[in-house]
Symmetry: C2
Subunit: 245 residues, 2 copies
């Protein structure tokens, strides 16, 4: 039976980290909110689960995955669950906790990316918190990107199996998520990333290697890949980029 992925339509957002793993593995999945209502899918089907008064294991928010009766919420948890099934997790049991730890660090970083444009409140528009966003984005570019990217570069460098993947001796879902992180940051902060990325050659090479994988290349060129836009996590607001006027 096909996996059912539940995530908002119209944006890559957090759901994209799951899509990349499913696409890379060539897995059969239904992107529920993007399918027509007449087939029993669409946004209504997602809201039905979220608002259910009887479902035993309601998720707090999308994305969540349904595999038969089991509902698995949170990107990192979904990838933990899917990883072995999609052959995108380390074979070694201990290394699976290492991979999951890396994915959780990526998740924390993604939250910080979101907060560059929404530092004060998720229920306020960007325009109503732009001054605070400029301060937060400056600290993000100057302090947080180097801290996280410096860490990811070290992880690659210190991987005893070589610097071509984040953990173990083969590509995992963590590498696919690293691709999305780099791609998204280049979209959101093109000026800052042009300078910054030179300092993290292994991270940059990993991004390029993932993009060269046939299933990822095909997916990124397909209509299934929603373009980056200003409803997602990675938003291009020129006034938040480095040396903004």
């Amino acid at each position: 039976m096909a996996y059912e992925l539940f995530y908002w339509d119209g944006l890559q957002g957090r759901g994209e980290f799951v899509r990349l793993a499913l696409e890379d593995a060539g897995a059969e999945y239904i992107d529920v909110a993007r399918e027509p209502k007449k087939s029993g899918y669409g946004m209504d089907a997602m809201m039905k689960v979220l608002n259910s008064k009887t479902e035993a294991h309601i998720p707090f928010a999308p994305p969540f995955l349904k595999d038969g009766e089991l509902i698995v919420p949170h990107v990192a948890n979904i990838l933990l669950y899917l990883g072995p099934k999609l052959k995108l997790a380390p074979k070694d049991e201990g290394l699976r906790y290492v991979a999951h730890g890396l994915q959780l660090t990526i998740a924390d970083f993604v939250t910080e990316v979101h907060d560059t444009h929404h530092p004060l409140a998720t229920d306020l528009y960007f325009e109503d918190q732009k001054d605070a966003a400029k301060i937060r984005a400056k600290s993000f570019i100057e302090q947080r990107v180097p801290k996280f990217f410096g860490y990811f570069e070290r992880v690659l460098k210190q991987n005893p199996h070589g610097d071509k993947q984040m953990v173990g001796d083969a590509v995992t879902y963590v590498d696919l998520s690293m691709f999305q992180l780099v791609e998204g940051l280049h979209y959101a902060f093109p000026r800052a990333m042009k300078t910054l990325s030179k300092h993290y050659p292994r991270v940059a090479a990993l991004h390029d290697a993932v993009l060269a994988r046939p299933n990822i290349a095909a997916y990124v060129d397909s209509e299934r890949r929603i373009p980056f836009n200003e409803s997602g996590i990675f938003r291009h607001y020129p006034e938040l980029d480095q040396n903004a006027k």
Copy 2:
């Protein structure tokens, strides 16, 4: 061999969610940064791992757990790892993903608690972002606490095994973390919580039930429990509480 928990000395912080599980289970553990340097522990021992240029699986930040050679970073990941060993996880494999999903929702909430006092930058003092903090805290109290607590209340209510625990038919690490969340919010926002907590009777009852567990009661009264303070995640700044002057 005893588990080694690595976390900053002097604050409960994120490490406390792990301590509560270890304490409830009566597990043998070393709180590395709080032990004397002359025994080979202390802050130096923690920084040595974090700054290692040779360690294969460096963590991004504390807390992390060392079990023999394996390093497991991130609270939710540590609890995922320890849960079955401490008999604080559901026996059912599927429910373990449910428990982990709940723990990740708690982790997201904890990040939002932190951001009430540090909305603009972690490298700025609270005093230098107080105005932004007041806006963020107001939104947190009015929008986010009801959203998260409303969700947790529903989770308890809809648990087919009864509303005394978050998942399955027995206490898990998720319940212990819920206790800490409620305890911390009462410390940080006493005025807001006095009103709010009435609306979430199952969450309040869960907090009290966890506190009544013998090992938790003994731990909370012991010197091992660091008091809440303004270096931690939950900080009591009266100007951020409800109806602040």
